[in-house]
Amino acid sequence: MAEQDIALMAHLLRRAGFGASRDEIEAKASQGYDSVVQELLNPETQEAVEEDLLIRYNPSYYEAAAIENNVQQWVWRMINSPRQLQEKVALFWHMIFCAGHSKIDSGQEMGLMVDIFRQDGMGKFDDLLFKLSTNPGMMYYLDNTESHKANLNENYGRELLELFSLGVGMDEGFNYSEDDVKVCARAFTGWNVAPSYPPFPHGRSPWEFRFDPGDHDYSEKTFLGETGNWDGSDIIDIVCRQPATARFLARHLYNYFVADEPQIPAWRLTPPRDQAAIEAMEKAYWDSDHSVKAMLEVLFTSDFFKDEAVRYAKVKNPTEMVVSLLRMTGEFKGYKPGLFELSQEPKYMGMDIMNPPTVEGWHTGREWIDSGTLVERINFASDILGNTELDGVRILVDRLMGLGDKISPEQFVNGCLDLTGPVVVTDDTMGQLISHASKEGDLTHGTDVEQSEFTRRSGEMFQMIAATAEFQFE
C-alpha cells in the first residue's frame, strides 16, 4: 500500500476521530478514503458502542449522578465507540457550548447535555440550538432560570449570539447590537427548568425543561431588523438565517478539524487562514438547509483538508492526546480497571472534561501548553508508548523487527516515526534521534538477548518520539 495513502488515512482518523491502531489505519486505507468518510459521517451505519459492557462491570454508572462517572463514561466511549466522528463532534460542541459542572453540580445533567451533542451534533443547526436552549443544565448555567419578564437577565441571550451562533463580528463589522442582546433575552423569558434550583437542603431530582407562559415577555420585539412577537424558537430561526452563523460554524469547524486558527475573540478582525475553505463550507450550509453534516462532508473530502500543510498544524488538546494514545495501543478497549485515573489525565493536562473554565471554553492551540502541562503530556505519552509490555506496543516492536534481520539506526528511527503516526519531524529532531540511535549501532534480533535489546531500544525510541515537540501536534 502506498505510504501516502496510509499517511492520509492516519490524518483523517486523527481528525475525524481519536486516531487508531496501525493495523486499523492500514485496513481503512485499503477500504478507501471516500468510503471511510461516509462511514464516519453516517454513524448510524456503524455499530453503537457496547455501553452495556461498561455498565455490567460498573452498575453504578447507569444514569450516574456523580461527575466522575459521567466523565469516565465519556472517555471510555471515545476510546471504544466505532462511531468515532460522533464522539469527536460531541467534544467539538462541548468546547463551544460550554457549561460546566462547577456551577451545574450534577454529573447526570452534564452527561445528558453531552448526549445532545452526540445525537444531534451533525444534524440541522437550528435543531441543535433549540435542544441546547431547552437543555436544563444550560438554562441554569447561563442564568436563563433567573431571567424574568419583569427582571431580565441577559446572560443566555448574549452568549447565544456571541459564543453559540453569530459571533461578535466578522469582516471587521459587528454581527449584532446591544439591543439585539436584550431582545434575545426577552424572547427567552419563561424558558425555565423544573424543579427549580437550588436543590438544598433536600437534594436534587432530575431536571426538565419547563415553559412558564406567565413569565414570558409576549410584547413585540425587533431582532436583527425583523419585527414580530418573537419567542426563543423564532430567535433561533432568525439566527440560523444569518450569514454570520454560517461563517461562525465554518471557522469553528476549520479550527477544530483542520488547523489552529487565532483565538475566537480575534475573529472579527482576523480573516480566516483559508478563505476559500471557509466559503466552501458556508456554501454547504446554505445548500443543505443548515446541515452540519453537509459542512463536514465538504471539509473531509476537500483538498484543503488533505493538504500536507495542515497535517500536524493543530496542537492536540489533552483529550485527544490521551484518547489517541490509548486507541493507538489498544489499551482500554473493552473494559479494564483504572478508568478513573485515566479519566483524570486530561485534567492534569489542563482540560477538565465537563468542567470548562468559563463559558468561553478552553483556550486552544499553543495555550494548551505550559511548563506544567507539557511535563504531564510528555510523561503520559512516553509512559504509554514506551511500555513494551502493552500488547499494542509489542505489535509495533514486532513490525519494526519485520523491517529486516539487521536494521540501521536511520531505518530504525524512520520505522518508529512511521509506526507511531506517521509522525513528521523537523530535520533537527530527526538528526538528534538518529544520532541517539547510532550510539548503540545497528539493531538485530536473532538471539533472545538481541531481541530483548531491540525491544528496550524500541521502547526508548518511542518514548523519545512521544517527548518531541512535534508529537504535541496532530
Partner: protein
C-alpha cells in the same frame, strides 16, 4: 510588615471537600451545638479547649501546642457573601476571588506574577499534586506541578540512569531554540526548556534532604514533606501549594470516623512540617495557611453533614499572632444562613489581603479585587 531573615514564603494546604468547621473548632458550651448534632456532637470531655468558648476536635492535639505558643491563628465564620454550595464553584471562588463572575486568574498566580514579573525563576511557585489548581493559574506565569518529588521529571519511564540521562540530553537538544519553525514551535521549545530546567533543579531536593522527623505516608503527609524539601533546598520558591486528595472532606456519611482520620492526618502532618522546618532553622520565613471551600450544615443528617456556608481556616508560623479572628457565627436558628448554615462574618479576601500585604509584601487590592479590611494576624 515583618522582618524575616530570608524572603517570606507562603505555603498553602487546601482541604478539599468542605471541612466541617463546627466539629473542627467547636463552640463547646453552645446548647444549639448539641441540639443540632445529635449524632455527631463531640462529647464535652473530649474537646480540647482553646478559650472559654471554643475547643479543638480531639484529634487536633498536635496543633494545640502551636496555639499555646501563640503561633496559630484560627479564623472562624470565614466565607463570602451569597455562598455557593457547589464544591467546584466555591473552591473556584476561593481560588480566583471572583464570587460574581467566573474568574480565570488565580490569586496566587497574580501574586507570583508580582513576585517575579519576568519569570526569572521557574520555581517561584510550585504546586504539589497533579494538575494546577486555579489559584495558581495566570497567563505567562510558569508554575511547576509536581505529582511526586522523588520521581518528578521528564521521561521518567526510561529505566537505567545512563539511558535516561542520554535521553534527557537528546531532549535538551531537541528543545533548544530552533530557527524558522514558527511561533508555536518556538514557544513549545522554550516551554520544554523551562520544564527541563525546573525538573532538573527540583530533582536535587530529595537528595539533599535529611531529617529526623517522619511524615505520614498519606498523600497529605507526602506532599507536605515535598513542600518542606523544596523549601529547604533553597530554590527561591515563594509560593508552595498542595491540595488534600479529591474531596476527602466531603463527609455526607460516616463522618465521625472519616473526619477524625483526616483531622488526625492534617494535625500530625502540620506538626511534623513545622518541627521539620524548625529542626533545619528554616521556619522563620514560612507561614502555612490551611482552609477549605466551605463549612457544613449546622444540623447533622444522622451519619454526616451536607454542604454548608461559613467555615474555619488556620494560619501557622513564627510571625503569626495566635488567636481567634472573626466572630463565631450564631447557631441560633433565626440567625442562620438560609438552609440551616452558618453565616460568614469574615471575608476570606480579608485574610488573603493580610497575607499579601503583611507577609509577601505585595499590594493586595489588584490581586483580591478590592480593598478588604485587614485582619492583623501577622506581626
Amino acid at each position: 510588615m515583618v522582618q524575616t531573615k530570608k524572603d517570606p514564603v507562603l505555603a498553602v494546604l487546601s482541604l478539599s471537600g468542605g471541612n466541617d468547621g463546627l466539629n473542627c473548632v467547636i463552640p463547646r458550651n453552645n446548647g444549639f451545638y448539641r441540639d443540632f448534632r445529635p449524632t455527631l456532637a463531640v462529647p464535652e470531655d473530649q474537646i480540647i479547649p482553646i478559650n472559654d468558648e471554643l475547643g479543638f476536635h480531639p484529634t487536633m492535639g498536635p496543633l494545640k501546642k502551636y496555639w499555646d505558643e501563640g503561633k496559630l491563628a484560627v479564623f472562624v465564620g470565614i466565607g463570602y457573601p451569597t455562598p455557593s454550595y457547589s464544591h467546584f464553584r466555591s473552591m473556584d471562588i476561593w481560588h480566583t476571588c471572583e464570587p460574581e463572575i467566573i474568574g480565570t486568574e488565580g490569586w496566587l498566580g497574580r501574586a507570583t506574577k508580582q513576585l517575579d514579573p519576568n519569570s526569572e525563576n521557574v520555581l517561584t511557585a510550585v504546586n504539589f499534586g497533579r494538575g494546577l489548581p486555579r489559584a495558581l493559574v495566570m497567563d505567562g506565569v510558569p508554575v511547576a506541578s509536581v505529582g511526586n518529588l522523588e520521581t518528578y521529571g521528564l521521561l521518567t519511564g526510561i529505566e537505567g540512569e545512563n539511558q535516561r540521562n542520554d535521553a534527557l540530553d537528546v531532549f535538551g537538544r531537541m528543545y533548544s531554540p530552533a530557527i524558522g519553525t514558527g511561533a508555536v514551535m518556538d514557544y513549545i521549545h522554550a516551554t520544554g526548556t523551562d520544564a527541563l530546567k525546573g525538573a532538573d533543579i527540583l530533582s536535587t531536593a530529595p537528595d539533599n534532604y535529611t531529617s529526623s522527623v517522619e511524615y505520614s505516608t498519606t498523600a497529605i503527609g507526602q506532599y507536605m514533606k515535598n513542600i518542606a524539601q523544596t523549601h529547604l533546598a533553597g530554590f527561591g520558591s515563594r509560593v508552595l501549594y498542595t491540595t488534600s486528595p479529591y474531596n476527602g472532606f466531603d463527609s455526607h456519611a460516616n463522618q465521625a470516623q472519616a473526619n477524625a482520620a483526616l483531622l488526625t492526618d492534617v494535625s500530625n502532618t502540620v506538626d511534623t512540617f513545622v518541627t521539620d522546618l524548625r529542626e533545619h532553622d528554616a521556619s522563620d520565613n514560612v507561614t502555612l495557611f490551611f482552609f477549605s471551600e466551605f463549612g457544613r450544615r449546622v444540623a447533622d443528617n444522622g451519619s454526616g453533614t451536607d454542604h454548608g456556608a461559613a467555615g474555619v481556616a488556620f494560619a501557622l508560623g513564627e510571625h503569626v499572632k495566635g488567636g481567634v479572628y472573626g466572630t463565631y457565627p450564631s447557631l441560633e436558628p433565626t440567625q442562620q444562613e438560609e438552609g440551616g448554615n452558618l453565616k460568614f462574618n469574615l471575608d476570606f479576601r480579608s485574610v488573603y489581603s493580610t497575607f499579601l500585604e503583611d507577609w509577601l509584601q505585595l499590594a493586595p487590592e489588584p490581586i483580591v479585587g478590592g480593598n478588604y479590611e485587614r485582619v492583623k494576624f501577622i506581626g
